[in-house]
């Protein structure tokens, strides 16, 4: 038995590759997509370039606006390690890969980059037409990176940059790409839109925030198979769709950065005044900018949406309590009380605590507790942690009231 038949026997169930169906007689990438073959000491790769006028609008933003975002704002959005960056010296980066599993065997076959050059925005995509072009492709990328300051990515910290670092090492190209500043938009985007959107994936943000709907976009899960098929049949029609997908990703990152910058610059007028504003307040909170956070939250308390208001009041009054400004806190609790229609106990309990411990007025505190009990009764709640907590509080307050009466009328 030869080794092949043995392997066939042992392997049992054959591994089934996914095939993407397409018409026969396709054309290769250099025919289908205009570009240039770049050559360096490591070989060749294919490069596709598009230039965008700064007035070009995508996702509701002028592309050119991204070049004038201040260093301060970039640092604010990017977080630690992103100080001192200039917007026109950043590279927007997004890769398309042969897999999502991670590890050394996953390759980025397409590295899409975007950057400002002489005022216009350039999207340059490095494509390896086969595995033997990877080193040359990465060397080109390394060249581009050398006179830039940092990256803008979406989930690049845990995916793209890691993967490229692995591939650089595997190709013996010494470059510590992980140490280059990286504004990863996923994290600020999540803070701002987590409450508003079910998904904070780039495509979802694009549709819901930037107002751009993709047509005939290739699903990310199909991309590895598209590339494997291309390697065999050299039909680049599906690769073209991958290139477009990648290009859109980069444009959307630019818009997203503009959008975030505008919102953080002027939260009151640039946000929806509701859930977005709540999200923005979280970014201010994370950076210790309490004043800005309070401003956002105060604005949220005017929101027409009760849930926004409730959340804002909860977080706002926590700050006020910490700063010992109970007058402001009390105002908000009362406001909630007058508006509340559902089962919310927090403001009543907060008020009970305040009257008991700060104002030393157990009678008023007990009133709040009784209101809470009434709410529970209305909601049909008779046992459980709410009731247990309230009962304890009521017992203590009742004791205090009796004690007080006793102290006032020691004779009786």
């Amino acid at each position: 038995m030869d080794i092949r038949s043995k392997l066939n026997f042992y392997r049992g169930t054959p591994e089934k590759p996914v095939h993407v169906r397409k018409a026969a007689g396709g054309q290769d990438v250099d025919v289908l997509i205009p570009g240039t073959v770049r050559e360096n000491e490591h070989g060749r790769c294919y490069v596709i370039e598009q230039r965008y006028h700064p007035e070009y609008v995508h996702g509701g933003c002028r592309i050119g606006d991204a070049s004038s975002i201040s260093g301060e704002m970039l640092s604010f959005i990017g977080g630690p390690g992103c100080d001192g960056l200039q917007a026109e010296k950043l590279i927007y980066l997004d890769t398309e890969t042969t897999g999502l599993t991670g590890g050394t065997g996953t390759v980025a076959f397409l590295v899409g980059t975007g950057f400002f050059e002489n005022g216009s925005f350039v999207i340059r995509q490095y494509f390896m037409r086969d595995y033997d072009e990877e080193t040359a492709m990465l060397a080109e990328l390394k060249e581009l990176i050398s006179d830039r300051q940092g990256f803008v990515t979406f989930n690049g910290k845990s995916f793209d940059i890691n993967l490229l670092q692995t591939r650089l090492i595997a190709n013996r190209l010494r470059l510590g790409i992980s140490d280059i500043p990286n504004i990863d938009l996923l994290y600020p985007a999540r803070r701002v839109w987590k409450l508003k959107l079910e998904s904070c994936r780039l495509v979802s943000l694009e549709e819901n925030i930037l107002g751009h709907v993709r047509h005939d976009d290739i699903p990310g899960s199909m991309i590895p198979a598209v590339y494997f098929d291309y390697l065999e049949d050299r039909d680049a029609s599906a690769i073209k769709r991958v290139l477009e997908h990648n290009e859109l990703d980069i444009l959307s990152m630019v818009s997203l950065l503009c959008r975030l910058s505008a919102m953080l610059q002027d939260p009151m007028s640039e946000s929806d005044g509701g859930l977005e504003l709540l999200g923005i307040s979280r970014i201010f909170e994370a950076h210790g900018r309490t004043g800005d956070m309070v401003k956002c939250l105060e604005a949220c308390t005017d929101s027409g949406r009760y849930d926004v208001k409730l959340q804002a009041v909860k977080r706002l009054t926590t700050v006020y309590k910490r700063e010992n400004r109970y007058d402001l806190a009390l105002e908000h609790w009362h406001a909630i009380e007058s508006e509340s229609s559902g089962f919310d106990l927090f403001h009543l309990i907060e008020m009970a605590k305040y009257y008991e411990h700060k104002e030393k007025n157990p009678g008023k505190a007990l009133q709040a507790v009784e209101k809470a009990f009434a709410l529970c009764r209305r909601a049909g709640i008779t046992t459980g942690r709410h009731i247990d907590g309230l009962s304890k509080r009521r017992d203590r307050l009742t004791r205090k009231i009796m004690q007080k009466q006793h102290n006032n009328n020691p004779g009786s």
Binding site: L7, A170, F228
Partner: protein, 756 residues
Amino acid sequence: MNIEQMLEHIRASEKMMKNITAWVELPAKEAVYADFPDFLDERITKALERRGVRQLYSHQASAVRAVHDGKSIVVVTPTASGKTMCYNVPVMDAILKDESSRALFLFPTKALSQDQTAELHELITEAGVDVKTYTYDGDTPQSARKAIRQAGHIVVTNPDMLHSGILPHHTKWTKLFENLKFVVIDEVHHYRGVFGSHLANVIRRLRRICDFYGSKPQFICCSATIANPVELASRIIGEDVELIDNNGAPTASKHFIFYNPPVINRELGIRRSSMLEAKRIAESFIRNEIQTILFTRSRLNVEVLVTYLRNIYGGKSEGEKRVRGYRGGYLPTLRREIEKGLREGSITGVVSTNALELGIDIGALDACVICGYPGTIASTWQQAGRAGRRSGVSVAILVASSSPLDQYIINNPDYFFGKTPENGLINPDNLVILYSHMKCAAFELPFEDGEKFGVETTAEILGFMEDARLVRHVGNRWHWMADVFPADEISLRSASNENFIIIDITEPKPVVIGETDRFSAPMLLHEEAIYIHEGVQYQVEELDFDDKKAYVRRVNVDYYTDANLAVDLKVLDVFREDKTRQVHRSCGEVSVSALVTMFKKIKLHTHENIGSGPVTLPELEMHTTSYWVSLPGDMPDMSQTEQENGLLGLSNVLANAAPIYLMCSPGDIRVVHQVRAPFTQRPTVYIYDSYPGGVGFSDKLYELHRELFETAASMVEKCGCESGCPSCVGPLNEFTGADDPKELTLRLIELIRQNA
């Protein structure tokens, strides 16, 4: 009574002595010292001196020197001979001489790696040096991993983690791989069979990665005493090793006693329970305040014996304090507490599975009782090594069960006390295993044209992978091109990913309780089969053959099931053969087809057949390696039935004799006989590896042909039964007619011995 008095007491008891088949007094041995080699960093020698070590034992010094000379070594010395110093000292020395040096330590279990790192930490702290040692395994928190990858001088891990957590991410470990000077593989004798064959391939992958980063590590292996440590170690690491076995550690005098429980049913060869006998012996030691460890084979028995032994103490809480169990499944903190109690002497008796056999530090105890032969001579010595203080006397007692292997060992003490027959065997070129690791290797780094992954057929296999669209050949290289992470598909501890999982559905929440290989599934897991797991009976309710799942439910019945297996064996290829004499021997590749047609329900104890049922499952075919021996076709003095009975007896004996040489469990091999084999046209007995592709047994059996049949002969001859029993030629009800199977088997063995 102290221990000497206890031994006198046993010697004086006729009742005990008549069951004792061997009493060997191993004399005390003086230490052989050697000076610290002068190249050793002073910080190490000073630290050792502060810990009371003024000189090294001879084997430690040899190891340190050999490593210093750049050699790869295998250290073979008994338990408690200070083996860890053989790698800790040279590795630390090298790191102190060149701070960039890195080392990788591999231990077969997580518990052991924790213990060994603790010891290394002590030495490092004592020396006051900055040698960063970290354990990197499944329990290592994500937050700590980055620092370990960057800064760890010594990374302690296990083969599984190396395989799936380190090698496929080698670019994150550049510091380690660029500077890797040493790979330490402790307990090398554990890596045999499937596990060892996998490890050899993991090491092949490691070497490729080291090549890529420009490092060339030395290997330091340690092994328990086996017949072929150099062969095993060099096959695992893929290069020559120097043997270090000039053991210089002192030992105190030790009494080793073989105890065979008395026969209670002569006809069936049934003896008194080894568990109760072991318990009785351990009890007598513990009553006399002699610190004792009792080894038993299953986790369940640990719990049962602990309960029995606690009764020694009047007070319940006293018993719970003084007698403890120890086994896998206990939480680490509990284990540490028990280990400490043993070292400090607050625990008098401990019942353990082989979890305590490995190098975990519990100090030395006075007495060791081993309930049931642990399966290998090496394990038995490791368990017995738990008893034995530096001064004074200690005792180890092996209590045999009725199983054939136990009976053989207990009645043939020379095998045990003489030169060990046990071989650690692997087959790194097993195609199933090799192929899975070539996938991992291609994922890790592209294969270059002309590159060899251990075998000459590397390019052909890559070609096969290319057809399967797993790799792509372009520009003199083979690149991985699949959206999968191949290491996830492989478990190092089983031969294929075709295993069936066994799911207990007794409770509302189903629990996976075990797995079995595809080939054994029809026999063990057909519907209505009684599956026994850790001493608990389960009945198979449903076997989902396509999804490889068996659903079982706990039951309590007084029978077991025995599936009727029809095996058809075809020879595919002959690797080696010797036909110069009347009896021919060969080894090669075979195809085994197995079909289960029905099963029997057999009553426990009486072995009555109390029912049966049909089994409808597909026939399974396996390709594996086999050794076979064929007899002359014309044996005029034996009738057809007699030949048949003789061959059956021979098969049963060989199934028990072969594991002694192969260091495997009886289930790792299978024996079939054919009265007129299609391939040889002669009466033939085949012994084949029960893993697809084979794990190296058949080649060794071919070489050990002579010894194997000598052992078979003495197994049958020395058995106390009259005309055959389950301990030698097999249960009598398996034979046809009124022949004497014992005699027939012996005649065939004699024929083979005289003509081979």
